[in-house]
């Protein structure tokens, strides 16, 4: 299966766009390598800012530049931007309505064996509780390009979490991808899996496994966590009668939290929140961690079958 990293897709795109628009500015915190920023800092030094290992200042300086009309993308590890500089995201970006896109790279458990210090498994819970902040987790490179294009067209305070590694290509083009609008896969009515990020492709694979057993599900790629596409959640609940959420995040406060908050108050149906439990995560690659927590296609298919029994 063809693969492309969201970070590489972003880097290629932003370099081309920035050559055409001198207000585009990329800010890094000794993270240009891990962000796979490539030639950008050398080709456009006047549109690049290197702050060093200082995420708080990076976000605040970005906000100041945005105040002057710059279209700022600040990139660094999701773990640090969502926690160490959470206050700067809250105050200088969201509350101050500065159009800064905070791109949390190597999100979730994609740093693998580097461990808990580098994992970002609380970022969505934190970021989505901040008013006036769009929260995105693209599932593939095309989604990343589409989200970037929309932010360039109409800036807004945003937190975008992407993974470290190449992910399967799910979408041929960016045509039907919009911030705030979920992308639906299949039309099964036995269950719906609402997923985000790199677990969407595993949900799609799980749908294939279930199909062989005569179980037909819908997969909803909920790449925008905030504002949540509640219409898509409502339809999934009405059409399928049960919902399993799937995310590379703590089972507390993430996509599962967002979906269950809506369902509990509007369309209560049996639900299962699949993610990383509230514990110390074993060292290993993201793939190994997903298998361990049954977030691989086989595990997801099993969880869906368990959930259907509760309908």
């Amino acid at each position: 299966m063809e693969r492309e990293a969201c970070s590489s897709a972003f880097s290629k795109m932003i370099l081309e766009e920035a050559k055409k628009d001198r207000d585009i500015t990329v800010v890094c915190t000794d993270s240009r390598g891990s962000a796979k920023l490539g030639a950008y800092p050398d080709e456009l030094p006047e549109q690049f800012v290197e702050i060093g290992i200082a995420e708080q200042n990076a976000v605040t300086v970005s906000a100041g530049m945005s105040h002057m009309g710059k279209k700022v993308f600040v990139l660094g590890p999701a773990s640090f931007y969502s926690t160490r500089s959470a206050e700067q995201v809250k105050v200088d970006v969201a509350y101050s309505n500065n159009n800064v896109a905070v791109i949390g790279i190597s999100g979730g458990v994609s740093y693998g064996a580097l461990g808990a210090t580098h994992h970002s498994l609380q970022d969505i819970a934190l970021m989505r509780a901040i008013p006036n902040l769009t929260v995105e987790i693209p599932s593939d490179a095309a989604q990343m390009r589409a989200v970037t294009a929309e932010l360039l067209k109409a800036g807004r305070p945003a937190y975008i979490r992407i993974g470290r590694n190449p992910v399967p290509v799910l979408y041929g083009n960016e045509g039907d991808i919009h911030i705030g609008k979920a992308n639906k896969w299949f039309d099964g009515h036995d269950a719906a899996v609402i997923a985000c990020g790199q677990l969407v492709s595993r949900a799609v694979d799980a749908a294939g496994l279930l199909e062989k057993e005569g179980i037909h599900i819908t997969v909803v790629d909920m790449h925008t966590i905030k504002p949540l596409d509640t219409e898509a959640v409502k339809s999934a609940a009405e059409e399928c009668g049960c919902i399993l959420t799937l995310e590379e995040h703590s089972i507390y406060g993430g996509l599962g939290g967002a979906v269950s908050e809506f369902l509990a108050q509007n369309n209560p149906v049996p639900m299962k929140i699949c993610g990383i439990p509230d514990e110390d995560v074993p060292n290993g690659t993201d793939d190994e961690v997903f298998r361990y927590y049954r977030l691989d296609p086989e595990g997801i298919a099993g969880a869906v079958k368990d959930l259907i029994r509760k309908k």
Binding site: I51, A54, N57, G64, M65, S66, M68, Q88, D92, N97
Partner: protein, 276 residues
Amino acid sequence: MLNKEQIKKLEIQASEICEKTVELIYNGGGGHIGGDLSEVDIMVSLFNYMKHDPKNPKWSGRDYFILSKGHSSETYYTLLSEYGYIDKTLLGKYGTFGSVLGGHPNKKIPGVEANTGSLGHGLGLASGIALALKRDGMPNRVYVLTGDGELGEGSNWEAMMSAAKYRLDNLTWIVDRNFLQISGQTEEVMPFVNLKKKAEAFGFKTVEINGHDYGQIFSALDIREKGRPVCIIADTVKGKRLACAENRADWHHKTPTKEQVDQLKKDMDAYRKELA
């Protein structure tokens, strides 16, 4: 260089701003009065020194000002009102439900560039503004006023490094050095020993002045050094001009009594007569 008449005029203006600030706090039922009054002379200087247009707060030729010590908002509001950025009647709603004039400044208020209140953000914001201006080849200057207790926040020191790295010689950072914070002496809470040397070492052209002396303030505001940001450490008196509050940490946030407000008015009247 200011002449005697100019200095006298500024001192009279400051005495009036001081009175109105205290009145605002009294009517509003509270405010960060100590830091409000220590910054009056710095703020009056800036409003007289900076390029700005109250009729057109977003004028592209303006200098930029950020009150990083956002809790000292009442002096700021008083000046914004005196200069016509906001309607004087708005001051009567300070701190009330739904009022745009809360305890900390917000960009919704004409003339305010940044939402401040959480300490340690202003210097970084000012640096971002200054960097964008430099990159766009714009001549505007950026001024930021921090407290001294505020410097406990590490983000200030991160911002100092990046301001020096990017040679932000269009940036002037002023420290309202009143040596007091809510718990007591800054040097006991967390010592900032050799602040001047520290700022110098971080790359700022640094001067230490009397923050209530207009001649010294204006001379310091004139400082320009190619390739270096400027830091003005302005030694001040917390609660300046309100006799009962001067140099007292317990006046960090307090509401004066009617008698204290009246006494200030008498004192300021006498002060102005003496100046005349």
